[in-house]
Symmetry: C2
Subunit: 469 residues, 2 copies
């Protein structure tokens, strides 16, 4: 009946899956990670490598007062209080401990400066040294190798198998699967003596599934995710009795470039330089229309209303914070202009209103207060007076699924019909719904994935093992 | 294996279920309606009996230009474009035909005047003669009797039974069930030779389930629904493979009274008189803060922000439209005052700001334009200058689930895993998600339930019958 047997079976090889596997392996004798794609790491690898942590060493060095309570308050504000508050609290409380684990235990390298991302009350975002989630995934893969955790690629989750009590006992998979061909591969059944952990991410690339939840997300709307971010494993979990949570809450990224596909290099340019140190302009009016440091939902809603086309502009001073600048310029995603006049002509922005906008923005920066849109004006913010100017053309792309399946504080998947845990079934990462409510703050995904991945791994490996077959 | 067999099995005895049963019975030889509660009619019976129809006879009489296109546009605006547009269009297109069916075929009596409900571009709402959904449910029950459609009460849906192809073949029920005791009653299996139709309504009273989708809806938040509006049948449908749609979109009614439980008599007072012909006031400031005729989401969001306590005030002229006035006064839900001064003292509203608010509102009524909040000012609207004044103390109560399971234009339930219909399985009414998107307009539930109930019934009865056992 079973082809193989492990103590813990982890599905998905991104931040959450690898964290779960590493944590479980410390406590049990065998763990396997199954990954449907031909490469490990999923979206995590291509993410920007941003890690929000409340009360971190860099904050202490820079005298930035922060706390898990403040981070939680920011999460609830962005999430419009739709958050499953207990889960959000756990992410905030364990953010710094988990950051330190990546440094001390995994050897992850971060840049020596914090970033201040939109919707966060204070700068609390670490950047991996290579400006990419791969800066964390690679050391995790090394650790898996050291710990003898096999990562089996091209292995597709076809179904969860329950025992006679309704507890999860294993998985049905297709090995040598070629994404996205559902008929490819060879069927196999893998047993989990202790538990199964689902860490398969979101469904931003599943155009049919996402349109059911949000019909505005039509086929032509682009996406920042890798193409494997589809809904099959979510469907498996729901078929196994998991509770769907807030599936219609799907986030678009307001910072993506119109001039490249996917997440690209432009997204990080906007997040790290364009929005915090520059201005966001309606192409047709030449005016600001929103607090550039608002959370993503607020930005996207403002950008999509009245079908605005927008650009972000930053000057020579602000652009220093853009770690992807060189690649952006090379790929034509960011363009450089010697003057506002030149920029206006090239982008067909009406010049006089744009000049007026820049002038009034510079005034408010000097006054230290944005009465119109409420952008926070930190002390190091400079007026836009230092040419050359850099400009990115923006478009909103589907980025993150806040919705997913319900878990409790132990990362146990909750059965819809009973509100009780499904036995021996855990989940972590973007497949989980509720942590972020209506809108996830930038740089909160990595702590979420690692915090709950580790919780899931530790708890899965603490289950009483079934006897071997 | 089976205890009984019918051509079509309908679950739920509200608007959608009875419409489905009546329509199916015309085309097939046997239909049964199963109802878990001890009385038929569910929420439909206690609803306000409001029926929105585009292009109706009363609109023609009153020279009100309307069209299904305009009604659809109103639905999409209220729904923030989250609507499954094809479904919304069908409701709008068939609204008047279905209204006429209730009049000509069922003999339903309506009042001779239209109401203009919030979020609708024009007056398009019929009121049943008795200001209650019972005005439609009762003639439907009579028709069921005439057509030999049994309505079996206290019969709880415990599960859907699929055949070897995955088509729905019947239901597992508990007869002599005593709500909400899951252990009560006797198990039975009822076979459907043609199809099963799910018309079991929403889950507004399911405090645990609704809090998972929207954690702000804590236990203490009141509800307008009958106590049977719980999630068990939704859970059955999802367990059978149905697609969950927008479950977190749960509507609060902004017009409910703080001084009575449930939907009561105050809700209709606010909807028909207080909001269209009066003003909505923040108790603490004495000021208006929103377009009283906005859709429910906008109103509730405005009322809940900053924890506003609000009252609606209407005068002797406006109160003529309040069909439940007498009961409201008798129950103390609406109170009568000889002057604004008296009203202000009794309700502890600051007098001077309230007087200023009434004066400026009266000015804008005379000018025919509300530049501040955009309330539509119809020609028959009178300034608030005719004492006595009537006042209702408001509180938002959970009212309607926009989310539910996915159907197509034929009312077939769509399987989550395949995006294809589940064989022989239909749904209609509030159990269906997507029609109303993020916010249902008042008086759109009855057309939705009747339109899709009839579609479901006709299509179910057109399925090729299985052979009898």
């Amino acid at each position: 009946m079973w082809n193989e047997e492990y103590d813990v079976v982890v599905i998905g090889s991104g931040f959450a899956g690898l964290a779960a596997a590493i944590e479980a392996r410390k406590l049990c004798s065998s763990v396997i990670v199954l990954e449907k794609m031909a490469v490990p790491g999923g979206n995590s690898t291509i993410s920007g490598g941003l890690f929000a942590a409340a009360g971190s060493p860099l904050q202490a060095r820079d005298n930035i007062a922060d706390s898990p309570e403040l981070m939680l308050a920011d999460m609830l504000a962005a999430g419009r209080n739709y958050n499953h508050r207990e889960l959000a609290r756990i992410v905030a409380e364990r953010s710094t401990g988990t950051l330190l684990w990546t440094i001390d235990d995994l050897g992850v390298k971060y840049k020596p400066e914090l970033s201040h991302l939109g919707g966060h009350s204070v700068p609390r975002t670490y950047n991996t040294a290579n400006t990419s989630g791969a800066g964390i995934i690679r050391p995790m893969l090394v650790r898996c190798r050291e710990m003898d955790i096999p990562i089996r690629l091209k292995t597709f989750l076809a179904g969860l198998i329950a025992d006679e009590n309704g507890d999860v006992e294993g998985v049905e998979v297709r090995e040598d699967y070629i994404f996205p061909n559902r008929e490819s591969g060879v069927g196999k059944r893998i047993r989990a003596k202790q538990a199964v952990i689902l860490a398969t991410g979101g469904f931003s690339q599943d155009k049919e599934f996402r349109a059911v939840q949000n019909p505005m997300l039509t086929e032509d709307i682009e996406c920042t995710n890798h193409r494997g971010a589809t809904a099959e494993s979510l469907i498996c979990a729901l078929a196994a009795g998991a509770t769907p949570v807030q599936l219609s809450m799907i986030q678009l990224g307001p910072w993506a470039s119109r001039d490249e596909e996917g997440f690209g290099v432009g997204s990080m340019f906007s997040m790290l330089a364009g929005f915090p140190y520059g201005i966001l302009i309606d192409l047709h009016t030449g005016e600001r229309f929103v607090n550039e440091q608002a959370d993503r939902k607020l930005l996207v809603d403002a950008m999509l209303s009245s079908g605005r086309e927008s650009i972000a502009i930053v000057d020579e001073m602000g652009v220093r914070h853009a770690s992807t600048l060189e690649q952006c310029l090379k790929r034509g995603v960011v363009r450089k202009y010697n003057s506002i006049e030149e920029l206006a002509v090239a982008n067909q922005v009406p010049l006089a209103p744009l000049q007026a906008t820049v002038a009034s923005y510079n005034t408010l920066v000097e006054q230290g207060r944005d009465d119109r849109f409420g952008k926070p004006i930190p002390r190091d913010l400079q007026p836009l007076t230092h040419p050359p100017f850099f400009c990115i053309r923006l478009i909103s792309k589907v980025h993150h699924c806040m919705g997913g399946i319900r878990i409790n504080a132990k990362a146990q998947v909750i059965r819809m019909a009973s509100h009780q845990p499904i036995g021996r079934f855990y989940a972590a990462g973007e497949i989980v719904g509720g942590v972020h409510g209506a809108s996830r703050l930038g740089s909160n995904a990595i702590p979420e994935c690692l915090v709950f991945g580790r919780i899931a791994g530790a708890n899965a490996a603490s289950e009483t093992p079934r006897s071997s077959i």
